[in-house]
């Protein structure tokens, strides 16, 4: 097997420079690459274009990038819960492209899969359709959507082995597998890094072929946005 291990987040993101096109896994704060985010904050780069379903909250996740004005453009499906985001967007400091969540997921999946474009019914007749080709199949209209490929994809998994095979836990999986496949360079941070042969080949969610660098994260806060309990 090809060994992909790097020492830590700092080494993993060393060559990410200002202006890079990044994908970052996670849904809300669930399954986000916390250690890579911290390492990028320390580097202090800027003009990033980031594909991420959400934009974090004001004081965690991608929200921290926004505070430091590191982001030129966000490509997301839902960006509520973030005041600084809204301020930068409304003032025009931040470029924002909003896409239907399924379209976003599929554009990323297509990028990793070598499919340059596909058709989806989502967004037909809405603002999202502006500038896009509409075409009928079997009497129903669809939009043509192009695929996304990133310079770097930053993903977070539960377990990973040194060959880059990844297993996610619960709904922390979300966008991580597609982003792993759609990165020219994919950096995976994991809660537990294990030797090859430890993970069941039948249960790998992201095969190692998609991962160029892997490391075990220092710590995970895993902040909860809506702690909702049964009483």
């Amino acid at each position: 097997m090809i060994q992909k291990t790097v020492k830590d987040a700092k080494e993993a993101v060393a060559d990410i420079a200002s202006g890079a096109f990044l994908m970052m896994g996670g849904f809300g704060l669930c399954g986000i690459p916390e250690n890579c985010i911290e390492a990028l904050l320390e580097k202090g780069i800027s003009d990033l274009t980031i594909v991420s379903n959400n934009a974090g909250v004001d004081d965690f996740g991608i929200g921290l990038f926004l505070k430091k004005r590191m982001v030129k453009k966000m490509i997301s499906s839902y960006v509520g819960e973030n005041e600084e985001f809204e301020r930068q967007m409304l003032s025009g400091e931040l470029e924002v492209e909003l896409l239907p969540q399924g379209t976003l997921a599929e554009k990323i999946r297509a990028g990793g899969a070598g499919i340059p474009a596909f058709f989806t019914p989502a967004g037909v007749g809405t603002e999202v359709a502006q500038g896009k080709e509409t075409r009928e199949f079997d009497g129903k209209p669809y939009l043509m959507e192009r695929s996304f490929i990133s310079d770097f994809s930053l993903v977070k998994a539960w377990k990973g082995d040194t060959a880059g095979n990844l297993i996610y836990k619960g709904t922390a999986r979300n966008f991580n597998p597609m982003m792993a496949a759609a990165g020219r360079i994919t950096i995976a941070e994991v809660e537990e890094l294990v030797p090859v042969g430890t993970l069941d080949p039948n249960q790998i969610h992201t095969p190692g072929i998609y991962v160029q660098r892997i490391f075990q994260g220092n710590k995970y806060e895993k902040r909860i946005e809506q702690r909702t309990l049964s009483v």
Partner: protein, 219 residues
Amino acid sequence: MLTKEQIAQRIAQEVKHGQYINLGIGIPTLVANYIPRELDVVLQSENGLLGIGPFPYESEVDADVINAGKQTITMLPGSAIFDSAESFAMIRGGHVHLTILGAMEVSEHGDIANWKVPGKMVKGMGGAMDLVASAKMIIVAMQHCSKDGHFKLLPSCTLPITGVRCVKKIVSDLAVIEIAPEGGFILKERAPGVSVEEIKSKTAGKLLILDKVPEMQFN
């Protein structure tokens, strides 16, 4: 006038045995509480889960198990986890039978607006555009008028729309309404104590009264 809980309760009467259902944030989430136990249905969460269970007890909370509203939840026996591409493959492919979601406006042709107020609020569409473009049955849970008295059931939407000609049914605090295939809000049921006249006066789009309009029944 119905409370939010009553809107949810009335919508729950639309649920059929064997359905896979996606519930939006807000009132739709409450529908889960009123689905009769004898019906086997499965709730889908578009962030990647089939089989949403109740909220966890304190000791069960797992930051890695949330719903699309970012609330901590539990999984049921028989649940399955998947990624976001698979989740929307399910939705887009018509495997989810019923979508219940909120709306800011609905037009008499079934157009829905619920993701943007230009210049004021842009949170994004999340999964709503995929859901309304794909599900076979789309029910909207909403207040019939806005708090300041603006119409929300309109001849055509004034806000940027989420989807075209997709809503099949509306349950508001005042009425149960179906969208006529040729356009128009068909008044099917009244909230207890609410008159047809009141509903008429609070509906800007074409209201069709084809028949006697019974009061909603709750058990």
